[in-house]
C-alpha cells in the first residue's frame, strides 16, 4: 500500500514564531509542557489581532458604514475558516462561543433541557473533562434522566464493548482525546452506535482539534465543541458546530441583542442560524485571531503536528519509563496524543512540578478537571506533561532529569 509520507515539522523553526520563548525563567529557556491546558501564541495570531484593531475595528453586523462592513467581513471570514477546519457542511452551523465549555453548556441546556426526561439515559465516560461531564450531570438531574458513565479499561481506554448495556440512551457525550491520559477515542464508532440507538452524539474536540485533523462529516457526530486557546488562538473564543436541523429546532441559550428577528411587547422571535445563538457583541478580534491560528496550523499541517507529538509521546514514555518508582497512566503511544500523565512513588505531584519549575520546565500537577477519572485511577492527582508543535525532544530530557531530581530530594 502506498503511504503518503508526512513532512516532518521543524520544531526549532516553529518555536521562533512564538514570542513567549524569547524570555528565560530561572535563567533557563522555557520548556512549556502544559499545552493541553492552553497553548502559546505565534506572532502571526497576535499580529492579526492587532491589525484588526488598528484597521478594521467597529461593531459587526449593524453598521452601514464601511468600517463596520470591514469588521463584519473579518468576523465572517473567521467563521468560514472554522467551517473548513472541521469540514462542516455550512458556515451557518458554526456558532462562536467563549470556549468548548460554553459550547457544551449550550448543547446541554438548549438541547438537553427540552429533549430529556425521566426514563432517558445520558451517557458520558469516565475519561471526561468536567466541561463535558458536569453540564450533563446537572441537566440529567434537572430533567430526571439517568446519568451513566462508560467505564475505562486498565489501559485508560473506553470500554466501547459495554455500550450495549445501556438502554434508552438519548445522548452520548465524549471527548475525542482525553486531556488527562491522551487517550484517542474512536468518535466514528461512538457516533454510529449512538445513531443506531436513536441518540445524538456530542463530541468534545477541545483536546483533539489542536493536534489532529477533524472532519465532522467523517466522524458523523451531531455537535462538536472546539476551544481556540488550546490551538494557538487567543483566549475567549471557541466554536460549536452543530447539525443545522438540530440547531434550528433548539431553543436559544443566551438572549439579548443580535440574536432576534423581531422583538415585541409580549414576545420575541429568534434570528437565523448562527445568529440565534450569538447574543451580544461578538468576540470579534478573538475570532480574527482564531482564524489566523487556523491558517497557521494548516500551513504547518495537522498531520505533521500529530506525527511530531506522537514521536514526542513515545520518547517521553521511554525516558520516564526508565525511572524506578514512576507509574505511567494511559494507553500505548500509538493510541495516544501528546499527553503523558504519571506519578512518582512517595512524591506529591505539586512537589514534582515545583522542582521542575526551578529548571523552567512547566508541567501541570493536579486533577486536570477530571475528578471521576482520578478516583478511578485511585489517585488524588497526577503530573501531566503535554506537547505541541513547538516542543523539542531535549525538553523531555529536562523533564526526565527533573523528575529524577525530585525523587532524590523527596523519596
Amino acid at each position: 500500500m502506498a503511504v503518503t509520507p508526512v513532512a516532518k515539522l521543524d520544531a526549532p523553526k516553529i518555536r521562533a514564531d512564538f514570542p513567549i520563548f524569547e524570555q528565560t525563567f530561572h535563567g533557563r529557556p522555557l520548556a512549556f509542557l502544559d499545552s493541553a491546558a492552553s497553548s502559546q501564541k505565534p506572532r502571526q495570531v497576535l499580529d492579526a489581532m492587532v491589525h484588526f484593531y488598528e484597521t478594521s475595528y467597529a461593531n459587526v453586523h449593524r453598521g452601514v458604514y464601511e468600517l463596520a462592513e470591514r469588521a463584519t467581513a473579518a468576523l465572517e471570514e473567521a467563521r468560514t475558516k472554522a467551517c473548513h477546519f472541521v469540514n462542516a457542511p455550512s458556515s451557518r452551523e458554526i456558532v462562536f462561543v467563549r470556549n468548548a465549555t460554553e459550547a457544551l453548556n449550550l448543547v446541554a441546556y438548549s438541547w438537553g433541557m427540552n429533549n430529556l426526561g425521566p426514563g432517558d439515559t445520558v451517557l458520558v465516560t469516565e475519561l471526561e473533562h468536567h466541561s463535558n461531564y458536569v453540564p450533563w450531570q446537572y441537566v440529567a438531574g434537572r430533567t430526571g434522566a439517568d446519568f451513566r458513565m462508560v467505564p475505562l479499561d486498565d489501559a485508560g481506554e473506553l470500554r466501547l464493548d459495554s455500550l450495549d448495556e445501556y438502554e434508552n440512551v438519548k445522548v452520548v457525550a465524549t471527548g475525542l482525546v482525553s486531556n488527562s491520559l491522551g487517550t484517542v477515542n474512536d468518535g466514528a464508532r461512538i457516533a454510529a452506535w449512538a445513531h443506531e440507538h436513536g441518540a445524538i452524539y456530542v463530541c468534545d474536540a477541545a483536546q483533539a482539534a489542536p493536534h489532529k485533523r477533524i472532519d465532522v462529516q467523517a466522524i458523523g457526530c451531531d455537535f462538536l465543541a472546539v476551544s481556540g486557546h488550546k490551538m494557538c488562538g487567543p483566549s475567549g473564543i471557541g466554536f460549536l458546530w452543530g447539525r443545522a436541523e438540530l440547531l434550528q429546532a433548539m431553543e436559544p441559550f443566551l438572549l439579548g441583542g443580535h440574536m432576534i428577528r423581531k422583538v415585541g411587547r409580549d414576545a420575541t422571535t429568534w434570528g437565523e442560524l448562527p445568529h440565534k445563538f450569538e447574543a451580544g457583541t461578538a468576540p470579534m478580534a478573538e475570532a480574527v485571531g482564531l482564524g489566523a491560528a487556523i491558517d497557521y496550523l494548516e500551513e504547518v499541517g495537522l498531520e505533521a503536528i500529530y506525527a511530531h507529538e506522537q514521536e514526542l509521546a513515545a520518547y517521553a514514555i521511554e525516558k520516564l519509563g526508565e525511572i524506578p518508582g514512576l507509574t505511567l497512566y494511559g494507553p500505548p503511544p500509538e493510541r495516544r496524543a501528546g499527553i503523558v500523565s504519571f506519578n512518582l512513588e512517595g512524591v506529591h505531584p505539586h512537589d514534582v512540578a515545583q522542582i521542575l519549575d526551578l529548571d523552567a520546565v512547566a508541567i501541570r500537577a493536579g486533577h486536570h478537571c477530571c475528578q471521576p477519572l482520578m478516583s478511578k485511577l485511585g489517585v488524588a492527582a497526577t503530573n501531566r506533561a503535554s506537547f505541541y508543535l513547538y516542543t523539542l525532544p531535549e525538553e523531555i530530557d529536562r523533564l526526565a532529569a527533573g523528575v529524577v531530581r525530585a525523587k532524590e530530594i523527596f523519596a
Partner: protein, 145 residues
C-alpha cells in the same frame, strides 16, 4: 541562597521526611480532619488537653500530601504543644508562616495552612466557640469535618 533552598529549606525536608507529632492520639479531647480538594492533601489532627482543660498537652496528626502541607503540619505540632488552646485557636497564620520561612505562592499557601485550619476547627469545636470569619470560608474550601 539558591531558589531551591529558598523553597525547600533543609528544615522543611526534615519535617517532611521525619514528621514530628506523627500519629493520632487515643482518647483525644479535640479532633478534626480536612483535605484540600484541589491537590488532594489530607490532614487529620487530634489534641489532648492537660488537667486545666486548656493547655495542649499532646497533639498528633496523620496525613498525606505534598511536602509543604505535611512539613507545615509537623512544624505546627511543635509550635503549639504546651500552649493554651484558647491562644492557639486565635493564632494568626503568620506565626506558622514565619516558622515555615519560605515564599509561598497562593496555591502553596493553602497547602501550608491546611493543618492549622484543621487544628483550629478541632479546638473551636471542643471549646464550643465559633470559628473566626477569616477561617470560615477556608474551612469550606478544605472540606473540614
Amino acid at each position: 541562597m539558591s531558589e531551591f533552598d529558598q523553597l525547600y529549606r533543609e528544615v522543611i525536608l526534615d519535617h517532611y521526611k521525619n514528621p514530628r507529632g506523627h500519629g493520632l492520639i487515643a482518647d483525644a479531647d479535640a479532633e478534626a480532619e480536612g483535605q484540600n480538594p484541589l491537590c488532594g492533601d489530607e490532614v487529620a489532627v487530634s489534641v489532648r488537653f492537660g488537667a486545666d482543660g486548656d493547655t495542649i498537652d499532646d497533639v498528633g496528626f496523620e496525613g498525606r500530601g505534598c511536602a509543604i502541607s505535611q512539613a507545615a503540619t509537623s512544624m505546627l505540632t511543635e509550635l503549639v504543644k504546651g500552649r493554651k488552646a484558647s491562644e492557639v485557636a486565635a493564632l494568626p497564620k503568620e506565626e506558622l508562616l514565619d516558622e515555615i520561612g519560605i515564599p509561598l505562592t497562593p496555591v502553596r499557601l493553602k497547602c501550608a495552612i491546611l493543618g492549622l485550619g484543621v487544628l483550629k476547627v478541632a479546638l473551636h469545636r471542643a471549646k464550643g466557640t465559633p470559628l473566626p470569619d477569616e477561617w470560615r470560608s477556608l474551612a469550606e474550601d478544605f472540606q473540614l469535618g
